[in-house]
Amino acid sequence: MAKNREFGNRRLHSLLGVIPIGLFLIFHLSVNFMATKGEETFNGAVHLIEFTPVKILVEWVVIYLPLIFHAVYGIYIAFTAKNNLGRFSFFRNWMFMLQRLTGIITLIFLVWHIWATRIQAAMGAEVNFDMMADIFSSPFMLVFYIVGVISAIFHFANGLWSFAVSWGLTVSPRSQRIMTYFTLIVFVLLSYIGISAIFAFV
């Protein structure tokens, strides 16, 4: 790696996790949530997205490229840490470990998820309610999706907390504590949205 690129890379990694990846996650979960309002509503929402102008370009710029950078650099970050929860079982140290763990789980989940949906769509499959209902007909896939979605949401919510620290938005211990509560609410709300969407397909 080139010299003195680390600061910029780390900051970029932190930024991309929130903008655009975090925003896309919220958008994605919101669209999924349409499934709780019935099959037609969900299919209608999916159909609308298919008409995004220059869709492939938007996908690459907003999703794939940021995600690839965030994932590759994230793996590097995760494996340079030596977790020491055994000796230091503080709350933030737990979050530190879980942030890395959920990052890896989310990556594994996303590789499968993109293969099973986006790549299948590129090969001619139609993305709709039935496609997801078919995936969720397997109990293993159901559990896998629940774990993957919860991991992604945790990683985003806790990442939002460390984003605020890394960019110097929350400096004082009190502001960081308030941010902990705020991101906890984000985690609970998005988890409710994500999980209820999954069960709409079952």
């Binding site: 600061f7 494996f79 840490a81 230091f88 460390s162 620290v165 110097g168």
Partner: protein, 257 residues
């Protein structure tokens, strides 16, 4: 106080030893007669007087570092019952037995409990953790510091380079070149000083280099472990804010000196 009981009371130690920087570590067990007000250092001195293990094996005296004996120099840090701390203020009465002593392995082990802490002093040199006042002529008195700020800065100046925060940090290890929380908080201290602030950008640019500030993973073990209660994570977050501004200045250019 009835002292008759303490005569039969003993203290057990399991000490991780290592003969040379490259040799394999091994454990040795010692048992000492209890004395009131014992600390880990007085126990180690007792073992040095008669280095015989529980098994009756005559061994070498244990090597460790110490200096001030009042928790201000930072030299006697070691891992005591799993936690890095100063051995001078580790009172036997407050420790669970057997007392386990090990070196802080984040640093290169010299021998037994003795570690080489030079990387921290190198970091201080790297970030210029001092106020440059030397010149070829008298520069006169510097700007005054508000009393309130001085009191705040005093807390940061309590850092004794003991190494506990580096030992506690999951991101300071052999896989990474992270300098750790200790020099970062000193950057904040010297940037806050009215004269030190004249080199603020220089220090910020140094910690924006490889192995610097951005390596912090916010586990916040450092602030929980610091024996001096230094607000290390507040310092790190404040520096994050300063470097955010500095990186924009570097990128877009600025007439700020």
């Amino acid at each position: 106080m009835v002292e008759t009981k303490s005569e039969t009371k003993t203290v057990r130690f399991i000490i991780t030893r290592q003969d040379t920087p490259d040799s394999a570590p091994y454990d040795e067990e010692f048992e000492l007669a209890y004395r009131p007000n014992m600390n880990v250092i007085s126990a180690l001195m007792e073992i040095r007087r008669n280095p015989v293990t529980v098994q009756g094996k005559h061994t070498t005296a244990i090597a460790w570092d110490m200096n001030c004996l009042e928790e201000v120099c930072g030299a006697c840090s070691m891992v005591i019952n799993g936690k890095p701390r100063q051995s001078c203020t580790a009172l036997i009465d407050q420790l669970e037995q057997p007392v386990r002593l090990a070196p802080m392995r984040t640093f290169p082990v010299v021998r037994d409990l003795q570690v080489d802490r030079s990387r921290m002093f190198d970091s201080l040199k790297k970030v210029k953790a001092w106020i440059p006042i030397d010149g070829t002529y008298n520069l006169g008195p510097g700007p005054r510091m508000p009393e309130k700020k001085r009191q705040w800065a005093y807390e940061l100046s309590k850092c004794m380079t003991c190494g506990v925060c580096l030992e506690a940090c999951p991101n300071v290890n052999s896989n990474s070149d992270f300098m750790g929380p200790q020099p970062l908080s000193q950057v904040r201290l010297f940037n806050a000083h009215p004269t030190g602030a004249m080199n603020k950008a220089e220090r910020l640019n140094t910690i924006m280099g490889d192995g610097g500030l951005a390596n912090c993973g916010n586990s916040q073990n450092c602030v929980q472990s610091c024996p001096k209660g230094i607000p290390l994570t507040t310092s790190i977050a404040a520096l994050n804010r300063d470097t955010t501004i500095q990186q924009f200045r570097n990128f877009f250019g600025s007439d700020e000196v």
